[in-house]
């Protein structure tokens, strides 16, 4: 009898090796790794495009590329970074961490999980292939505003189809996250006892399910306008170009929070661990996250204050947008209160988290300035906006992902990264990120529009500095890759609980964590 059970168990663990292991895997850790490596690859592809942009903008006059190609680079850089680098990175982290954090063996829907990852390489192959078309890739900006996007070359249906695939992948991923969190928590883990990262991902998953179909609708209408003779967005046929912007940003603003809420969850996990003190105001953190998510659906038109809305509309969207500062402020205050009278140490994940708080808050301040409609008429579509959203997305979202990787790497691999190199990586990244993006505030305020391949000579100085910073930032990330590979070559030495102040079920597992996280659910009191 017992041999029989052993046999079954062995069967259960049997899996193909080599490439087929990764293609057929239904394991949350394997899929998490796939997502994270894929995200890293996309981060470098998108980053390479950013460097082409910054190289051209190093000095006035056109030196390297023609304007049409420049526009393809800005468009693709955004699409790759948002849909290829950031979103998959957070899904990868969710895959690795959610089952371990709630005491489950795996995700609730493992085959769906496999599928939602394997859609991505095909979608991005198609998206990137448009760059090699004779008519080039998409060049109307990642926002795809018609009528301009309707003028695009042959790339347009390919871009739209790949966005549809990405949307499908995200929705499948979100369904899996919700099913896992709601059904597979260990006995005793009530909703208000869940780790905060789990909470932020639960809310993010609902945002994804609500927002992605709206994008799908908008781009499908673009497609029919272009190929099937409809005129949803063309004025000549009785359509309305502004309608697209409303629909797009009804997706677009929740999308912004899809990129930042899981980051909040990561920071709320790491700050208490290295302060050796419980997260301050857990309940209010949950409520603040939920309020930000709800508000995200009634602020969309602040991206389009200049389209000529009625006064009442402008006032409404100004007020609701300003309101977001309240729950976001609560989060920042709670982080600071968590550190207050803690016993802090400053390992690499903590350093990235502290930089996150400061630099994300600076991005929040410029966001508040942008919310003020009359001032936004000046800021809108200038480099001030570029500075703002890069502050919340690079030292915001990306720093959180990097912090999470350093924090959980010993749990995932059983190996400790080199702390000195980690700190060097942190300082280089943080210095260069500011050299890159801070001067953009200045040129934006001084009047430089965004999305231009060439500029008037008075903007030269700060653009040169930004370009130098961008190349420094890009090179610093090669160090990150080096650190990752160096860590993987180490022997297994990491303790089960890799950080003195770390809390949560994942630290009760051995390092590296077993293939099926919790075979029997732990008890939570």
């Amino acid at each position: 009898m017992s041999t029989n059970i052993d046999h079954i168990k062995e069967e259960h663990h049997h899996q193909p090796s080599g490439l087929m292991r990764w293609i057929t895997t239904t394991n949350h850790k394997d899929i998490g790794s796939l997502y994270l490596w894929f995200s890293l690859l996309m981060f470098f592809i998108g980053g390479f495009m950013a460097l082409i942009i910054r190289a051209e903008l190093f000095q006035p006059g056109l030196q390297l590329v023609v304007p049409g190609f420049f526009n393809q680079m800005t468009t693709m850089h955004a699409l790759i970074m948002i849909f290829g680098a950031l979103m998959p990175a957070f899904v990868g982290l969710a895959n690795w961490q959610l089952p371990m954090m709630i005491g489950a063996p795996d995700m609730a829907l493992p085959r769906l999980n496999n599928w939602s990852f394997w859609i991505l390489p095909f979608a991005f192959t198609m998206l990137l292939s448009t760059l090699f078309f004779e008519s080039g890739g998409p060049a109307a900006g990642w926002t795809l505003y018609p009528p301009l996007s309707l003028q695009g070359g042959n790339s347009m249906p390919f871009v739209i189809f790949s966005l549809h695939l990405l949307g499908a992948s995200s929705i499948l991923g979100a369904i899996n996250v919700i099913a896992t969190i709601l059904n597979m928590r260990a006995p005793g883990m009530t909703l208000m006892k869940m780790p905060i990262f789990v909470w932020t991902w639960l809310i993010t998953a609902f945002l994804l399910i609500a927002a992605m179909p709206v994008l799908a609708g908008a781009i499908t209408m673009l497609l029919t306008d272009r190929f099937y003779g409809t005129s949803f967005f063309t004025a000549a046929g009785g359509g309305d170009p502004v309608l697209f912007q409303h629909i797009f940003w009804f997706f677009g603003h929740p999308e912004v929070y899809i990129l930042i809420l899981p980051a909040f969850g990561i920071i709320s996990t790491i700050i208490p661990a290295f302060s050796r003190k419980k997260l301050f105001g857990y309940d209010s953190m949950v409520y603040a996250t939920a309020s930000i998510a709800l508000l995200s659906f009634i602020v969309w038109a602040h991206h389009m204050f200049t389209v000529g809305m009625p006064l009442a509309g402008e006032i409404f969207f100004m007020f609701t947008t300003m309101l977001i500062a309240v729950p976001t402020g609560v989060k920042v205050f709670n982080w600071v209160a968590t550190m207050w009278r803690g016993s802090m140490t400053f390992e690499t994940p903590m350093l990235f988290s502290l930089a996150f708080i400061i630099l994300f808050t600076i991005g929040g301040f410029s966001g508040l300035m942008l919310a003020i409609t009359p001032a936004d008429f000046q800021y809108h579509d200038t480099y001030f906006v570029v500075a703002h959203f890069h502050y919340v997305l690079v030292p915001g979202a990306i720093f959180a992902v990097i912090a999470a990787v350093y924090y959980w790497l010993p749990k995932w691999t059983g190996k400790m990264y080199n702390e000195t190199l980690g700190k060097v990586h942190f300082w280089m990244t943080t210095v260069f990120v500011n050299i890159t993006f801070f001067p953009m505030h200045f040129v934006g305020l001084a009047g430089m529009p965004r999305r231009i391949p060439d500029y008037a000579v008075q903007f030269t100085d700060f653009n040169m500095i930004a370009s130098i910073g961008a190349f420094g930032f890009g090179l610093s990330q090669l160090l990150f890759v080096y650190i990752l590979f160096q860590t993987l070559r180490q022997p297994v030495t990491a303790a089960d609980k890799s950080w003195e102040g770390a809390e949560g079920l994942e630290w009760t597992l051995p390092s590296p964590a077993p293939y099926h996280s919790f075979d029997t659910p732990p008890k939570v009191d």
């Binding site: 105001g281 402008e314 803690g342 600076i362 508040l368 009359p374 008429f377």
Partner: protein, 266 residues
């Protein structure tokens, strides 16, 4: 390394001889641009104060509550009172910002009682201006010198071109001390018309007619650019407004009306 940094400093020093290190929004020459500037500075200073306080507390904690200084972690982790305080105070500050912002917005959107109307139409990639009452109409696009210099591999030193990328063949002429209503539309894709010192931007959208108003208080030449991505030459459709005293404007109108009539008789 030293030589590299010396080279870097030298190259930066050389560029600063022709360019300036402008870090802020220019002060305006019309009521709407001035109001935007004032609001911008107000909100900026408020955020600076909040930043100093929040980051101050954070850095105090970082320097004093560290394990290497023997800090023992406290055990407190919640307080409803504190949460209510830091929900209410930001809310009150926001109300304080919203009041002047709303007043300014209402002032900006009030285009009534204008004396003349300028219709602006965006094209890929130039602007068309129609002086509705005065029967003057012309296209305005990037001047030839900038246009030659901006081509890839032109070998022209753009720093030697006058107002590189910010010069046009035909300037818009507007009278000072006059409320001018500007109507905006476009013929192909969406553009946006922006001259920072005169007014914030507004989109020019096919099928729409948007409104702006300006009242320029100081004669001078004011430059701006299209600010909505409108295709490959989006970066090359500048706007130049020459503000002149009323009498001069009247003269300019009569001169250009004549030209227009002459054109017609051809």
């Amino acid at each position: 390394m030293n030589r590299l940094s010396a080279l870097l400093i030298a190259s930066l020093a050389s560029v600063s001889s022709f360019a300036d290190w402008e870090v802020n929004m220019p002060r305006g020459v019309s009521p709407t641009a001035n109001a935007a500037y004032d609001l911008h500075m107000l909100i900026f200073y408020i955020t600076v104060v909040i930043g100093v306080i929040v980051f101050g507390v954070m850095f105090y904690s970082i320097f004093h509550h560290r394990k290497s200084k023997g800090a023992k972690p406290a055990s407190f982790h919640e307080s409803t009172t504190v949460e209510v305080i830091w929900t209410v105070i930001p809310f009150v500050i926001l109300v304080g910002m919203a009041i002047p912002a709303t007043k300014t917005l209402i002032m900006m959107e009030d285009t009534r009682d204008s004396e003349i109307t300028l219709k602006v139409t965006g094209y890929q990639w130039m602007w068309k201006y129609d002086y509705v009452e005065d029967n003057v109409s012309f296209f305005s696009k990037l001047d030839n010198k900038s246009n030659e210099a901006r081509q890839l591999g032109s070998k022209i030193d753009v720093k030697k071109v006058d107002n590189y990328l910010l010069n046009v063949d035909n300037e818009v002429v507007l009278p000072t001390d006059t409320k001018v209503r500007i109507l905006l539309t476009a013929s192909d894709v969406i553009h946006a018309w922006w001259v920072p010192e005169i007014t914030g931007k507004k989109d020019a959208i096919p099928g729409y007619i948007n409104e702006l108003w300006v009242d320029i208080k100081k004669p001078g030449v004011y430059r701006g650019q299209c600010t909505e991505l409108c295709g490959k030459d989006h970066g090359f459709m500048p706007i130049v407004v020459r503000a002149v005293p009323k009498q001069e404007y009247v003269k300019w109108v009569s001169l250009n009306q004549k030209n227009r009539v002459a054109d017609k008789s051809e």
